[in-house]
């Protein structure tokens, strides 16, 4: 046990008046002290009955902790996710019991599948009321078990310092993920002798990183050195492992073409000469087709999602697969690895780089360029420079790239605009692509962009959202109004739930079943929240409007009316192999 030491924070921060003279602290104060000690600066939350003691204590921590009052708990957790993804730190959420906690579930599932480090503190009814169907009581631990890396219910305040330390350690170490700490009201109120905060560094039953096996690194290097058509596919693991530099060195020494998953995007600049584009259902033509032509497939920090692999029995069957992953459960889960390189890629990549030969593959890379040209001719040209009057999503992204020079944080929602934004956005800086990849959560972008803006206030944050997704969480405009994070909202409005409509057109014989969605006047809605905005539907106004959006002080909403029935191509239709990717509706 440590002696009482309340100021565990390395930063110079004012000590809280609530605990200055007292060794006895409440559980609530212990929660906040833990946050201060973990260098948390921003909390996204919403108060309520069962978490009131923590909010009461927070009143005295205004100097150290910045609390952002969201408009819905789902907004809080998406904001925390956006914050975590941009800053590389842990996002923190406060919510009350019952509906407050259940409103977090979508965000928890999203953070779980996209490995985002988030710690959620939820209030819970008094311990003696557990199981009595008390007011605002839900079984939060059991509801959140499938969607959390770890969760724990605190019923005694003395547990709080160690449980909070464990929560942060688990959320951020190894393969990151969401953690829920459910604290009963009596534990929040309970006074106890504060032992000080000691960060958690080891849990005996938890191994965040598997030990690196040199023999596998050697085998992997051998395979790479003897390969003729090697191909790197990388995911978010590179970003989560903070291994961008190590990855770039590996790619550049190896001379191997590299394609990203949607989650891995921006780990290297999108215009890197060896970067050949995005994988997956709406990824680039070459990377998809050539997955089935490479002889060695080097998968780094990615999990072979079905949106990346298409039909598994037609996926890279000819290739020897090297799989680098920190999570042993990912090895062989979907694609059998010839050589599994378990471990943190920040450790394994330099070992591998050391052992591989410096090489170039001009002919092989030329194959990617050939496919790129085909895609350019059949898809990209018309998307970026359309002949008709109707605006395309692609040209909006093109102009945005030009204005931001690829330095903005791009937060996207889910659907056609997401695919187009990810296909065409230029990104120079890591952690620029914030999107709901695994779960596909519509409504993610607006709150996530709020979090992203706090995650790195020095960069421009642009939230690109469809007309459908925006209506799912537009209440967070209220948060923007009140706290003024600088979020540029770019709505690509096609007056349809576009992606579902595209599928209905292509695979359900044009039966447009409930995809025709009516929107309010988004500019007026924004105006109601004190956010300036405008709407454009003509090409000649587009660039100027984007410029106004970016140059306006503070947040701004720009609605761009785009083609109603435009489709996103290329596309790997569901149930087909990656090589069966199509470039137009005629080929489906």
């Amino acid at each position: 046990m440590q002696t009482v030491k309340l100021k565990a924070t390395p930063k110079e921060k004012k000590s809280s008046p609530a605990i200055k003279h007292a060794q006895e602290v409440s559980g609530s104060v212990a929660v906040l002290e833990a946050l201060v000690a973990e260098n948390v600066e921003t909390i996204f939350g919403y108060p309520g009955g069962a978490i009131m003691p923590i909010y009461d204590a927070l009143f005295d921590y205004k100097e150290q902790l910045n609390h952002i009052l969201v408009r819905h708990e789902q907004g809080a957790i998406h904001a925390a996710q956006g914050f975590a993804r941009v800053s590389g730190k842990v996002g923190v959420v406060f919510a009350t019991s019952g509906p407050g906690a259940t409103n977090l579930v979508t965000g928890l599932a999203d953070a779980m599948i996209d490995s985002t480090p988030v710690v959620c503190v939820t209030g819970q009814v008094f311990a003696h009321l557990l199981g009595t169907d008390a007011f605002q009581e839900t079984d939060v631990i059991n509801i959140t078990t499938p969607v959390t890396k770890w969760n724990y219910q605190v019923t005694d305040a003395t547990e709080i310092p160690s449980v909070m330390a464990k929560a942060f350690y688990i959320a951020k170490s190894g393969r990151p993920g969401p953690v829920v700490i459910d604290i009963t009201k009596n534990a929040q109120i309970q006074k106890f002798s504060y032992p000080g905060y000691a960060p958690c560094e080891h849990i005996r039953s938890y191994r965040p990183k598997p030990i690196v096996r040199k023999e596998y690194v050697e085998q992997a290097a051998e395979l790479i050195n003897s390969a003729e058509r090697p191909f790197i596919i990388f995911g978010q693991g590179v970003i989560l492992g903070k291994a961008e530099k190590e990855f770039k060195q590996f790619v550049e020494k190896s001379g191997i073409p590299a394609a990203w998953t949607i989650m891995g995007m921006s780990a290297i600049p999108t215009d890197h000469p060896l970067g050949v584009g995005m994988l997956g259902m709406h990824g680039n033509y070459g990377p998809n087709v050539l997955t089935n032509e490479c002889d060695v497939l080097i998968a780094i920090g990615m999990r072979f999602d079905d949106r990346v692999t298409g039909r598994l029995d037609k996926y890279a069957k000819q290739a020897k697969v090297i799989h680098l992953d920190i999570d042993p459960a990912e090895i062989d889960k979907n694609v059998k690895a010839t050589v599994p390189v378990w471990g943190d890629c920040k450790e394994t990549l330099p070992l591998l780089t050391e052992l591989i030969q410096q090489k170039v593959y001009p002919q092989w890379i030329n194959r990617f360029h050939e496919f790129r040209q085909k895609e350019e001719d059949k898809v990209i040209k018309d998307e970026m420079n359309p002949k008709g009057d109707v605006l395309t999503m692609g040209e909006v992204i093109r102009d945005l790239n030009e204005l931001t020079a690829g330095n903005a944080i791009v937060v996207t929602d889910v659907g056609q605009h997401q695919m187009v934004a990810c296909r065409y956005s230029k990104m120079n800086i890591s952690k620029s692509n914030i999107t709901s990849g695994g779960l596909g959560t519509m409504g993610y972008a607006l709150p996530a962009a709020i979090g992203a803006a706090y995650g790195d206030p020095t960069r421009t944050t642009v939230a690109i959202i469809g007309d459908g997704g925006f209506q799912m969480t537009l209440q967070e405009l209220g948060t923007i109004m009140q706290f003024k994070p600088n979020v540029k909202i770019l709505i690509l409005n096609n007056n349809f739930l576009g992606m579902v409509r595209q599928w209905q057109q292509l695979f359900h014989q044009n039966r447009y079943s409930f995809v025709d969605i009516t929107s309010p006047d988004f500019v007026q809605v924004a105006k109601g929240f004190g956010i300036p905005g405008s709407s454009v539907n003509k090409r000649e106004d587009l660039k100027k409007a984007l410029k106004t959006m970016l140059e306006t002080d503070g947040s701004y909403l720009l609605e761009v009316m785009v083609g109603k029935e435009n489709n996103v191509f290329p596309m790997v239709p569901q149930g087909r192999g990656v090589a069966e990717i199509v470039l137009s509706a005629d080929e489906v």
């Binding site: 770890w150 724990y152 849990i203 598997p210 030990i211 042993p328 459960a329």
Partner: protein, 196 residues
């Protein structure tokens, strides 16, 4: 790959909610648990789960990895029938008068290795430990003689090729566990015991 019976042995911390965390790994994939037993292990504070399922080796391996991924799970092993010694305990309640009268019944009980646990005027409880078919057989045998009630425990199993968990645990407790604790299947292919 063919489905067969696998026994999964899991060492865990003694934590509320962990049973659920492990159970949903199966239910999420719509896999039925044939038998489940959980109890403190020989090591203080460590619990041992014995779970029996019918699946292919590929699926069981993936399940074990998902189980081991849980923060409070120390280790998960899976074994085929041949790699373990196992028992299930069964209790049978039968009317005492019939047993007392019918000499045949006494012989049958003796043949099945049954042991009387409780003898009362109205009923007697016998116990038998054995494999599933052995305990099943005795049900069939006793049914004509008015079997009142029957219950069987979850499976308990000892892995033939295991050195126990004491040494492993010490390794887990150090900050840098050794390779034995973190070994993976690719390096232990010649071992009968699967471990990760």
């Amino acid at each position: 790959m063919q489905k067969q019976e696998y026994t999964i042995t899991v060492y865990t911390e003694n934590q509320i909610g962990l049973l659920n965390r492990i159970a949903i790994i199966f239910s999420r994939r719509k896999i039925n648990i044939e038998s489940l037993n959980t109890s403190p292990s020989e090591v203080d504070s460590v619990h041992r789960f014995t779970i029996v399922i019918n699946e292919t080796e590929d699926v069981v391996r993936k399940l074990c990895r998902q189980i081991e991924k849980q923060v409070e799970v120390l280790k998960a092993y899976f074994n085929t029938q041949e790699e373990i010694v196992w028992q299930e305990l069964a209790l049978y309640k039968v009317p005492t008068d019939i047993i007392a009268e019918e000499v045949k019944v006494e012989r049958l009980l003796r043949e099945h290795g049954a042991k009387a646990v409780v003898i009362r005027k109205d009923y007697t409880v016998f116990e038998v430990a054995g494999h599933r078919e052995e305990t099943d057989n005795l049900i069939k045998v006793l049914e004509p003689y008015g079997l009142i009630e029957f219950v069987r425990s979850g499976r308990v199993a000892i892995i033939k090729d295991s050195a126990g968990f004491h040494e492993r645990l010490k390794e887990f407790e150090t900050h840098q566990p050794g390779e034995n604790t973190i070994e993976n299947e690719f390096l232990s292919e010649n071992e009968k015991v699967f471990s990760m």
